[in-house]
């Protein structure tokens, strides 16, 4: 199952895009309580939002964003049936992407 959930809502001609990603966002300073070893860094570095194939927003982030990050964007315009693609890349090179149709 994809790690990304996307919801959209039309608001006064604009479209609100909300997304929830399941990701640990470890900053490398937390200790594993059972082994007493540091948990290595593991966080999303780049998140891109595409609207009908065109990049509308790109975020660079560090581990200062909470675990299971949530983002909300406000797209200007947006019609029913438009395609929103969100993808992320983390510091270990993992990536995921999800597609959503505005309803």
């Amino acid at each position: 199952m994809s790690s990304i959930k996307i919801r959209s809502k039309r608001m006064d001609g604009n479209t609100q895009i909300r997304t929830l990603i399941s990701h640990p966002m470890e900053h490398g300073r937390n200790k594993d309580k059972t082994t007493n070893k540091l948990i290595p860094m593991h966080f999303i570095q780049v998140l891109t939002v595409r609207h009908n194939g065109k990049v509308v927003a790109a975020c660079n982030m560090g581990a200062g964003v909470s675990k299971d990050p949530y983002f909300a964007f406000m797209l200007k315009g947006g019609e029913a049936g438009d395609e929103i693609v969100i993808d992320w890349v983390d510091n270990l090179g993992n990536k995921d992407s999800a597609t959503h149709k505005i309803s």
């Binding site: 604009n14 966002m25 900053h27 300073r29 937390n30 200790k31 570095q45 780049v46 939002v49 609207h51 065109k54 990049v55 509308v56 927003a57 790109a58 975020c59 660079n60 982030m61 560090g62 581990a63 200062g64 964003v65 909470s66 675990k67 990050p69 949530y70 983002f71 909300a72 964007f73 406000m74 797209l75 200007k76 315009g77 890349v89 090179g93």
Partner: protein
């Protein structure tokens, strides 16, 4: 094949070079600025983000964040702005080991509004920066954290 000391050292060197090379390509490919997200204090992080420019304080950036955060690991924040020609929006937490939390590059097709959730290590100011065609603008708000975001 016999591996003597000299050959072994050479091998180490080769592995080392290839290893660092690969790391660099991964970072460069995604365009993530390693130096912006290095652990440092807030002044250094601001300088690094602004690339030597100065930011003007403004009331045209709206930073919505609770004054008292019960849990520093999850602090909801919304930043929006009525400034013209915004290129990017960034959030910096004053006392976080890595102060820069997120920088969003916007296009004219999207409102310069971002809602997300931050980790805050302790009670500190949260700065919102906006980069426009006419330079950088900033605003800040103090957040009191009752449980730290570092303990996990």
């Amino acid at each position: 094949m016999m591996i003597n000391r000299r050959k072994f050292l050479k091998l180490l060197l080769v592995i080392g070079t290839v290893g660092t090379g690969m790391w660099k390509t991964v970072s460069a490919a995604v365009g993530w600025p390693v130096s912006d997200f290095a652990p440092m204090n807030v002044d250094a992080a601001t300088k690094q983000l602004l690339k030597g420019k100065t930011a003007t304080e403004t009331d045209k950036i709206e930073l919505t964040i609770p004054e008292i955060a019960e849990n520093g690991a999850v602090v909801p924040v919304t930043v929006s702005s009525s400034l013209e020609g915004i290129k990017s929006v960034a959030l910096i937490a004053e006392f976080n080991p890595v102060p820069l939390a997120i920088q969003m590059f916007v296009t004219p097709d999207i409102e310069p509004t971002l809602s997300t959730r931050l980790k805050l290590a302790e009670t500190s100011f949260v700065y919102a920066f906006a980069e426009t065609e006419n330079g950088w603008f900033s605003t800040r708000k103090k957040v009191k954290v009752t449980i730290g975001g570092c303990g996990g």
